[in-house]
């Protein structure tokens, strides 16, 4: 008896669920041939070509397995020999509440289980209303359904309620039959950036760099066996930081040796953007972070430098460590020989046992080929600078400056020229920068004094113990050589108007 029940159950199930059983043997998504074009800024273009069999005339077609973060307003569809009547994006989700709401007026089956024996009784019932409680008519009784007394079996699901947001398109086809239908849309929830692994050999002055494309899928949907193309750039209007800051790191406050290049990399481009196709097909799973190699360069020249910036004409009580700077180039000759999409450069060095150890990271913007890069990786333990204001005094310049000059004309007389003289007052600040080096090798530190531009006219440097370079109105810089296990003191006088 038991066996026959089981057989009957399976038969019933088999009759009920042919589609489901079929789905089990091929648990694939409904997507067709998918191509993903992923941008840096939370955006992807999805092209999905599915083979669909359309009947002649108007029909409504659903497109399951589109991205859960689809921007439905961007959907375009092309199907040979079929026109689009309308597109719908339905996000009215199927829930038990709504199932009951929509069943008002319908006949359902109530299955009651006898609490003592477990025997089931079935009754047909009509749902009268579902307002803060479900009212049903069973035969000629009116009952309030409650207390989990009965299972309610609905004969069908209401139309228009969906398990997940669904795109549907009503098409008008000239002729029936199978044809490729291409769905194009934009989706959020994608992004990518580059990650660089740089192994720096200080003694040889070389770096080995591997570049990885790191792409993220938070769209809520998996894309199996997709063709993936990455575009190095952020298209569209939305600037990620409100437009106050450019995506490129600012040059001010960075060590010297950063300059954008003028070479074109040997890669596919599209307008302003470099394209990075992923070879073959790959599965972009949901909640996945995927990395694919795009760059592998060994033995590119690189050097280490030191950089210190004093933001204003002020002292420090304690000496501060200088920045360790790694300099390299992305040029074809003597560099990485490629354009570098924006991302993070992680720098490693080998320790005494030869194991690579992490020594710091920095972010780069989209970097054209031929650029010079100088990246702060960290601060040097053994190289420090202590800036000190030794003296600050007001000086009166002997120089008189003609600042105003005008003519007075009186009728019949030659014009008279009047000048008004102003004395020029300066503040003279004497700074020392004590640069110490506890390393067993000599170093050269790039010391920058910033904060010189006060918008009060010119600044002068009447004396300096090393020849400096005025980098801008605001910054003056010196290359300070420091012997091994020694120190060098740089002394500079600044005459400023404030």
């Amino acid at each position: 008896m038991r066996t026959s029940t089981q057989a009957a159950l399976l038969c019933a199930a088999a009759a009920l669920l042919p589609a489901a059983l079929h789905a089990q043997s091929a648990p694939a998504s409904a997507q067709g041939d998918v191509a993903l074009t992923i941008y840096n800024n939370d955006l992807a273009l999805v092209q999905d070509t599915r083979t669909m069999t359309l009947p002649k005339g108007r029909s409504r077609q659903e497109f399951p397995d589109v991205s859960a973060n689809i921007r439905p307003e961007t959907v375009t569809l092309s199907a040979g020999g079929a026109g689009i009547v309308e597109q719908n994006f339905d996000y009215d989700l199927l829930t038990p509440d709504k199932l009951m709401d929509k069943a008002v007026g319908q006949t359902v089956t109530l299955v009651r289980t006898n609490p003592a024996t477990g025997a089931e009784t079935r009754e047909s019932a009509t749902i009268l209303a579902n307002n803060g409680g479900t009212i049903v008519r069973v035969g000629d009784r009116i009952e309030v359904l409650g207390g989990y007394g009965a299972r309610v079996v609905f004969p069908s699901l209401p139309a228009g309620l969906r398990a997940r947001p669904t795109l549907s398109v009503t098409l008008d086809a000239d002729a029936g039959g199978a044809r490729p239908v291409t769905l194009n849309y934009l989706s959020r929830g994608f992004g990518w950036s580059a990650d660089y692994v740089a192994l720096f050999d200080d003694a040889a002055g070389k770096i080995d760099v591997q570049g990885w494309i790191t792409l993220n899928n938070s769209s809520g949907t998996a894309f199996p066996d997709a063709k993936v193309l990455l575009v190095a750039g952020a298209v569209g209007q939305e600037s990620p930081n409100n437009g106050y800051q450019s995506a490129r790191p600012r040059m001010i406050g960075r060590p010297s040796g950063n300059s954008p290049g003028t070479e074109t990399a040997n890669r596919e481009t599209l307008g302003d953007f470099y394209l990075y196709p992923i070879a073959g097909r790959t599965t972009v799973a949901n909640a996945q972070q995927k990395q694919v190699s795009f760059l592998d360069v060994a033995g590119a020249p690189a050097s280490k430098g030191y950089y210190f910036r004093n933001d204003w004409l002020g002292s420090r009580d304690e000496a501060a460590s200088v920045d360790s700077v790694l300099r390299f180039s992305s040029s074809r000759s003597g560099g990485l020989g490629d354009a570098l999409p924006a991302g993070t450069v992680r720098v490693y060095m080998r320790d005494a046992r030869g194991s690579p150890q992490f020594i710091g990271e920095n972010r780069i913007g989209h970097t054209p080929m031929g650029s010079s890069l100088a990246l702060k990786t960290g601060e040097a333990f053994d190289v420090k600078v202590q800036p000190t204001v030794q003296k600050r005094e007001r000086i009166m310049s002997d120089e008189w400056e003609r600042t105003a000059r005008y003519r007075i004309s009186v009728d019949g007389k030659p014009p008279r020229e009047v000048t008004i003289d102003n004395t020029k007052e300066f503040w003279r600040t004497t700074m020392t920068y004590k640069v110490t080096n506890a390393k067993a090798t000599p170093v050269t530190v790039e010391v920058v004094q910033a904060g010189l531009d006060t918008w009060w006219g010119d600044n002068r440097v009447p004396s300096e113990s090393l020849k400096g370079t005025q980098r801008s109105a605001d910054e003056r810089t010196w290359q300070v050589p420091v012997p091994a296990n020694g120190e060098t003191t740089l002394t500079v006088q600044f005459d400023t108007r404030y």
């Binding site: 199930a13 398990a163 990885w212 909640a287």
Partner: protein
């Protein structure tokens, strides 16, 4: 039950797309711990929220099959930053690296089951009788479960019977934890030893200094300890442990990484309150884990114990570029949710000079008189080693015992640097400033230092003044240090010392 299993077996269909090789654990591990970038030298680690990180390098032996295969790495740190993962040693390189965070949970299992057959299992509450029915999932997990059975459509768990869903199998792409894997395409099958390295958060370390003054007050013994801590859930037994001192640049995490999925599934009904059904799953990892009963392991002795004892093991220091690397010389276990201490250095008879420091601006005393200790990081003073930043505690002997007399912080100090450590506030030495106007351009200032102690006290007053004025005619010789005038004087026991100077503004 046998019938249940048979039915499940009937439904189950293995869905492996390609060969999957699982590497369950590393053969050996090296852990290099980096300090929290923003924590100052005198701030202690917060064991509940370690903000440093570690570079973990693992050696793993993996049998790579011929052709395309997926190698899954298990037993990696929970705080792994997947974008930092480096894998070397694979015969044909790495086609791609993946970090999958689509986790196996009631909600994801249900969502993946959409449109697929499952078993609906009903348990009679009194008789305990179980009934099984085949069903198909017809709703998404957000709105809770609606299933199609042979009878029609039903919402689950609305009948008072205990109902649950049994699935035929686990989708291949759902994993228990965020999982790192690589895709390889090897021309031949091979057994390889590969190296996997990555950065992971949830680690930190710091140096701690204990200074014990000698009776004479001019020498001291210094014990330096390093404490490393891990709040990660993975333990690294017998690891090569190292620490890196110095500031390492880290970029802020832009948070672009996909967050792990995984949620409970709520079977909501059209009537009654929502019922929580399904297994409880642990919260997703991003929140820092609390330290469970910090498992304290002390290699030699507790750091702040002033007792004399010879430490067994001292870390070895080497240069790593412009940073300092400290290696624990023997394999050690970096345990989950634990901290461990190893000796950094032991120095006997370090020359120290205690003094009191006060700052004066124009004619005003700034702040309290500070108890200071001065030494220089050189061999001559008994030091001469890189000192990574950390808190310092100072003890003075009192008969058999020792008394804590001060606490402060040592910043990163290179060899050759001066160390002026502020360890407390002086109570028995006071400095007063008094000014009188001589004329509208000149003021006379008198500084008076009073020493209430029965010992002479060395005092240093750092005098700064506005750039308008000049300091003239000091009654004692002033030194010049760091752009300031310094009055250095020894104030005799139970006595006063005085300095007079004038401040003049230029006409």
């Amino acid at each position: 039950m046998r019938r249940f299993l048979a039915l499940l077996a009937l439904l189950a269909a293995p869905a492996w797309g390609q060969t999957v090789v699982v590497s369950p654990a590393p053969d050996s591990t090296a852990v290099t711990v980096y300090r929290a970038p923003e924590r100052s030298s005198d701030t202690a680690m917060n064991l509940g929220w370690l903000q440093g990180y570690a570079l973990i390098t693992e050696k793993r032996t993996v049998s790579i099959p011929k052709g395309r295969a997926t190698v899954r790495f298990e037993g990696v740190a929970a705080g792994l930053f997947p974008e930092s993962a480096i894998i070397s040693g694979l015969p044909a390189g790495v086609r791609e690296k993946n970090m999958d965070a689509d986790l196996l949970s009631p909600a994801t299992l249900y969502a993946r089951g959409f449109g697929r057959p499952v078993l609906l299992r009903r348990l009679h509450p009194k008789s305990g009788k179980e009934r099984l029915e085949r069903a198909v999932i017809r709703s998404g997990p957000d709105g809770s479960a609606i299933l199609q059975t042979a009878d029609g459509f039903e919402a689950i768990n609305c009948s008072g019977l205990s109902e649950s869903i049994a699935y035929p199998g686990v989708p291949a792409d759902l994993s228990a934890k965020p999982t790192l894997s690589v895709e390889t395409d090897s021309p031949v099958a091979a057994k390889v030893t590969l190296s996997l390295s990555y950065l992971a958060w949830g680690f930190d370390w710091q140096a701690n200094y204990v200074l014990r003054m000698h009776e004479d007050g001019r020498k001291a013994d210094l014990d330096a300890w390093v404490t490393l801590a891990s709040s990660d859930s993975t333990s690294y037994p017998e690891a090569e442990a190292a620490l890196v001192a110095g500031k390492v640049n880290r970029e802020a995490d832009d948070g672009a990484r996909p967050q792990p999925t995984g949620d409970s599934l709520t079977f909501r009904c059209f009537i009654g309150p929502p019922m929580q059904v399904g297994m409880a799953i642990p919260a997703p990892p991003p929140a820092p884990m609390m330290m469970e009963a910090a498992d304290m392991m002390v290699t030699a002795m507790r750091a702040n114990s002033p007792m004399k004892m010879k430490a067994a093991v001292v870390v070895q220091q080497e240069a790593l570029g412009d940073l300092k690397l400290y290696r624990v010389p023997m394999p050690t276990t970096v345990a989950a949710n634990a901290q461990k201490q190893v000796m950094l250095a032991q120095k006997r008879g370090v020359t120290v000079t205690p003094f009191v420091q006060v700052d004066v601006y124009d004619a005003y005393v700034q702040g309290d008189a500070a108890l200071m200790l001065r030494t220089r990081n050189r061999k001559e003073e008994g030091l001469g080693l890189p000192l990574p930043g950390g808190p310092i505690t100072v003890f003075e002997p009192r008969g058999e015992n020792a008394v804590l007399i001060g606490e402060g912080g040592v910043p990163d100090k290179a060899v050759g640097e001066d160390l002026d450590l502020r360890i407390g506030t002086a109570t028995q030495l006071a400095l007063e400033a008094n000014e009188t106007a001589l004329n509208d351009k000149t003021r006379a200032v008198t500084l008076t230092a009073s020493n209430a102690r029965a010992q002479p006290v060395r005092l240093e007053v750092r005098i700064a003044h506005g750039s308008e004025s000049q300091l003239l005619t000091p009654s004692a010789k002033l030194k010049r240090k760091d752009g300031r005038d310094v009055w250095a004087v020894t104030v005799p026991a139970n006595a006063r010392a005085t300095l007079r100077y004038t401040l003049r503004r230029p006409s």
